[in-house]
Amino acid sequence: MEIRMAGVTKTFGEDITALEDVFLNVPKGDFVYLVGPTGSGKTTLLRILNRELLPTRGQALVGEYNLRKLRRTRVCHYRRAVGMVFQDYRLLEDRSALENVAFVLEAVGASRKEAIDRAGEVLDCVGMWRRRFLFPRELSGGEQQRVSIARSIANDPLLLLCDEPTGNLDPQTAGEIMQLLLSINASGTTLLMATHNRYLVDAYRQRVVELKMGRIVRDQERGRYEIDEEL
C-alpha cells in the first residue's frame, strides 16, 4: 500500500503540536524506519496511519483510502489491510497467546480451525510456539512483544505499522524479529517502523525518516540511525 501524506499537522489542544506540516511519500513495498527522540511525533504519525487519530490539517492517503474522509463502516475494512504492532502490546489479558492471535483472524471471518492453524504458524515464526498456551501475565515483555507482532502479521497485512517492535527484546531476538519483518516486507508489504534501536537501523540499512519536534528533518535512502557524515 502506498502512503501519501501532504501537509499533515496534528495538534492536541492549543499548545501541543505533535506533527507539523509533514510531507511523506512511501511507495508500495517500501521499508521505512522512523527515528527521532521521544516526543518527536513518530507514534502520532503511526496512529494517524492506523486511523486512531485524525490529522488537524493536511491529507493522509493510504492506498485507496483517504483517512480524513473514511466512513465508520470502511474503517474496519481499512484496518484489516493494516497491521499494527503497539508499543504497549495491547494483548487481551484473559486470552492465551494463541487465542490473542486467533481471535483477530476470527474477527475478520476465518473459521475457528483456520484461525488456530494460522495463529500457530505465525507464533512459530516469532518463536512463541512452545509458549502459545500461556497468558500475557505469564510472558515476559519481549515475549508479549513477539505475540503482538504475530497478531499484527497473522492477517497478511498490506501495510505494517510497528511502534518500537524490538523495544523489549534482547539483541539476538531483535535480530530475528528484524529478519522476520524484512521477509514480510520482501513479500510486498509496506512497512513503517518507529525505533530507537540504533544497531538495527545501522545493520539493516533501509530508508530512514527522522522526525524532530513533529517535523521531518531527514529522509534518506539506506540511511543510518544518525546523519551519515559521509553524505
Binding site: 487519530l53 465508520r72 474496519c76 495491547r90 487481551l92 484473559d94 476470527e106 475478520v108
Partner: protein
Amino acid sequence: MRSFRFALRDTVRLIRQSPGVSGLTFLTVLVVFFFVGSSFLLALNTRHVISVVEGELVIQAYLQPKGNLDEVRKKAANIPHVTGVRPISSEQALELLKARLGNQSAAVTLLGENPLPASVEVRVDKASSVAGVARELVSMPQVEDVVYAGKVAEKLARLSRFAEVFSLFLLAFAGLAGALVLYNTIRVAIYSRKQEIEVMLLVGALPGFVALPFVFLGVFWGFTGTVAASLVLGILYKSFVVSVQNTLPFIQLLDNPDLFLKLGIVLVGSGIALSWLCSWFAVERHIAEAMKPS
C-alpha cells in the same frame, strides 16, 4: 454463521470470566422484573376488583302497564355495553316482594290486584356505560321509568378511569425504570471489557461482530433474570392470594393458572426484548466512542 458461533463461544467466556458482574446483573434483572411483574399484577387486580363491583351495578327499567316484556328485553339486549338482561314479569315481581317480606308476606293480599309493573334488570360492562344505557332505556315508549344508582355509578366510573390511568402509569414507570437500570448495568459490564472492545476494533473487527457477544450476554441476563423473577413472583403471589382468601374472603384476587403462564411469557418476552435493546444501545454507543478518531 462463523460470527454467530464465535459470538456464542465468546458469550460463554464472558459469563465464566466475570461471575461477579454476571451475578449482579442477573440479580438486578430479577429485582427489576419482579417489580415490573408486581406492578402488572397490582394493575390487573385493581381492574379486576373494580370490574367485579361494576358487574353488580343494575339498571331497573319499569314497563308501561301494556308494555311487552319480551320486546323490551330484546331491545335492551341490543343496546351497546349491555352484558345481561333479566326480564321480571309483574307476577315474578310480586313473588319476589313476598319473599322479601317473609313472615309479613300475607300483607300483600291487602293490595288486591297486583300493582307491581313488569320490569327488566339490565347489567352493563362498566360503570361509565350506566348513564348512556339508562338514557336509551328511558327513551323506549314501552318503558315508564328507569331506576339506577346514578351517584354510585358516577363515582365508580371515576374510580375506574383513575385505576386505568394509574395502571398505565405504574406499568410505564416500572418499564422505564427497569430499562434504565438494565441499560446502565449492561453499560457497566461492557465498560469492564473496554480494552477488549478497543483492541478488537483496532484489528479490524466489524462493529456488529464486536457487539454480538455483548448483545447475547444481555439477552442471556434478560432471559435468566426474568425466568427467575417470574418464578419468585408466581410463588409469592400464590401464597399472598391464599392468605388473603383466608383472612379477607370478600376480596376476590385474580388466581388463575392461565394468568400466571401469560404473565410469565410477557415478563420473559419483554425481558429478552428489553435486554437486547439495552445491550445493543450500550455496546453500540461504546463502539461509536471507541471508533471515533481523536
